[in-house]
Symmetry: C2
Subunit: 206 residues, 2 copies
């Protein structure tokens, strides 16, 4: 009866309110940190702006950083599925390149949100590492996936970890350039450029 916008949503007015509160907290955190910088925003500020008690803040997020970093890991599962579908029919590097485009699309669709986050990261570089950590788990899973595909033990053979780590780095470089350019360039094009250079063995340009 109730219209389901997303695949599964039991959504009582309770769960609805939870989503609202969570969104209000991340929104307030992002906005305040973009304005003042991460270290000049307290949990009290964020919860006040979101209209909840500071104690409630910690019912939603384990740390102040988590509220800013949010959940950008949702599309990881979609990427995994895409990668699994592509791996049998092409080289590993090419499969990764195409699978990454899912993330690219999600980011380009969410431009404003990502630029706000860039503003926060720009003001408060201490947050960058945490971003890397949240990627670490995803990288570990992808490494395992590729190792299985190739039929090798990732502890013995270095290739799966190497290709995942380097392509992740390439993606980060592309994303950084995208944000630095204020979105005037296409993220997809920048990613393609990076992967092309990787395929060519990182030979000197010119």
């Amino acid at each position: 009866m109730t219209p389901d916008v997303h695949s599964e949503a039991p959504l009582g007015r309770r769960d609805l309110r939870k989503q609202q509160t969570r969104a209000a907290l991340t929104g307030a955190a992002l906005r305040l940190c973009a304005e003042r910088g991460f270290e000049h925003v307290t949990v009290d500020d964020i919860s006040a702006a979101a209209g909840v008690s500071p104690r409630t803040f910690f019912n939603y997020f384990a740390s102040k950083e988590d509220a800013v970093l949010g959940d950008h890991l949702i599309e990881v599962e979609a990427m995994r599925a895409r990668l699994a579908a592509l791996l049998p029919s092409m080289p590993v590097l090419e499969a990764i390149r195409r699978a990454v485009l899912i993330v690219v699309a999600a980011m380009e669709a969410d431009r404003d949100h990502w630029f706000l986050r860039m503003e926060v990261f720009h003001r408060s570089p201490q947050l960058l590492p945490r971003l890397v950590l949240s990627n670490a788990e995803a990288e570990r899973l992808t490494t395992e996936q590729i190792a299985v595909h190739l039929g090798v033990d990732p502890r013995v053979h270095g290739y799966p970890a190497l290709v995942v780590a380097t392509t992740s780095a390439a993606f980060r470089v592309a994303a950084t350039r995208w944000m630095a350019a204020g979105g005037t360039l296409s993220l997809g094009a920048l990613v393609d450029e990076a992967f092309t250079a990787l395929t060519a063995g990182l030979t000197d340009p010119g």
Copy 2:
């Protein structure tokens, strides 16, 4: 008159004591964290083990993490110099590969220390990002260096950032394998293997 072990050392008994205190703090921090895990060690524990007040701890380190991470950035300058010497006569990727061997040598010479740190990182993965951050500044400088060598603007051309980010990732993979193998393999050989794969364009192994 006084024998100088290192190049420059004014070393009164005051500076000597400072070095001792600093070493005692990092040593205690490393040991305790390897035993109990980072989050189960307080600053009070560390300073007590090192025989100084907790307040003094913060005169030496800005944060608890800093005491564990220590200063592994010393050889960065040596690597920069080596890179500058090599760049004119060979491709960028090859120059980086050879320059990295300086760091490799330092790490292999300091095996025990690095393995203790590996133990800490293994028990407390939250520390890994901080390690990445400390590398970030070094990466930024190297990127600039390569951009100058190639005569390009790193904000316009993606290659310098890309080659630095990917080789850093490759090095991290090699170091991780080295530590995972408990040092039974040569770090230099693992690094070479990774760079060879990079040069080959990350083609599938077989």
